[in-house]
């Protein structure tokens, strides 16, 4: 299963500056671990104690994995995983 992982701007420095990566995996957790294997420290920024940090949402296509099976949420060929952290700029 090849999926596209969209990297948010704040995490691009630890993902080699890339805006998106193509990664193999059957679940969201597997995919994020693959990204971490390529870019050490990536998973730690997104995950804490085996689940997604509370100021970040991870989506498979339009759906938040919190509303499905969290990191066990399955992915299929061509899916897009988006990682969206809370941002607070207004001014």
């Amino acid at each position: 299963m090849s999926v596209t992982v969209k990297i948010p701007t704040p995490l691009r420095p630890i993902a080699g500056g890339r805006a998106e990566l193509n990664v193999e995996g059957a679940t969201v957790g597997e995919v994020l671990n693959k990204v971490d294997a390529q870019h050490r420290g990536f998973a730690e920024k997104v995950l804490e104690g085996g689940s997604v940090r509370r100021f970040i949402n991870v989506y498979v296509n339009e759906d938040n994995i919190r509303d499905h099976k969290e990191l066990e949420t399955p992915v299929k060929n061509g899916d897009t995983i988006s990682i969206l952290p809370s941002i607070a700029g207004g001014l």
């Binding site: 509370r54 100021f55 989506y59 339009e62 809370s86 207004g90």
Partner: protein
Amino acid sequence: MSKSFRDVLSQVKKEIRETTVHEVDRAITERRDFVLLDVREKEEWDEGHLPGATFLPRGFLEVKVEKTVPDKNTPIILYCAGGVRSALAAKSLQELGYSDVLSMAGGYGEWKNNGLPFEVPEKLTKNKLARYSRHLKIPEVGEAGQLKLLQSKVLLVGAGGLGSPAGVYLAASGVGTIGLLDSDVVDESNLQRQILHWSSSVGMPKVDSARRTLFEVNPEVKVRTHHTRMDASNVLDIMQEYDVVVSGSDNFATAYLVNDAAVLLRKPVLYGSIFRFDGQASTFVPYEGPCFRCLYPQATPPDLAPSCDEAGVLGVLPGVIGLIQATEAIKVLLKIGEPLVGRLLVYDALSMSFKTFKVRRDPNCATCGEDAHIDLEAIPEFVCASGVR
């Protein structure tokens, strides 16, 4: 020999049913299920009409009634000025197959003579008709919608990047009252994006600079300024004066404070945030959809957020996001379209893409969940997360 009008009228009155002003008054008071149609002319309607009546002048009655009252078994009461036109109208409706039609004897004259309540429709003045003519041409806005906007009160939390485009366009659109909350003064580095403030505004409190701009845009808009930092002690007093809140602050503490207070007061929040080339927007309507805390239960901690120095923003980015917030404000105020309730809109200026993601209400949300306990004092202060200052 042809019949006289008197003959026709007396014949019609035998074929229809009439009711009295007192019976109609009771039907209105008891909220009975019926449609009240005013068949007079526009000038007569404009001088006053029965509460809850629908304007359908007799000249258009047969043409338009099937759209106004699709179910021909709906009880209908018709009135005019004195009971003649409504009698003739009742006859027409019966011929169209309406089964339960009454004409109010004595009409609006008799109604007023009995001291019964009436409403005078609000009208746009001639200069407002001109100013808002492009709104009036849109059926979803129209005169009623424009009057609604003129009566609406919108609070802008932050008169900066997002508050600037939102404020300018909401003022131009004729939102009657705009509240500006900001404790800052205008800095030269703001001018790259904060279009409420001009080069000559540097050093002025942002709320005063913004008031000056909004006055130039639309002098009829009432601008209220709150030159203060929002905190637990003032948020409820300030926010309760307004219908909706445009959340465009530069820090998480204020974003959560706005959210929690808005849930307490049940005020819709038009949310937006920006960072470099990225923007997010959503519309939080308390208890109808998720709130900000359902979306992000916690703020990004300062050590994981980019530092203040890194937090740049493309100057035009807040223009896009702030106007999405303003658009959502107008939609919520006019109850039109599908606001971003339960959806997060994510804008990427570099790839020029807009995507929406589903956001569900969190049953365990600390603000709007089943066991929520809102404590405004408990919201921690963040000096600078990824905020763009």
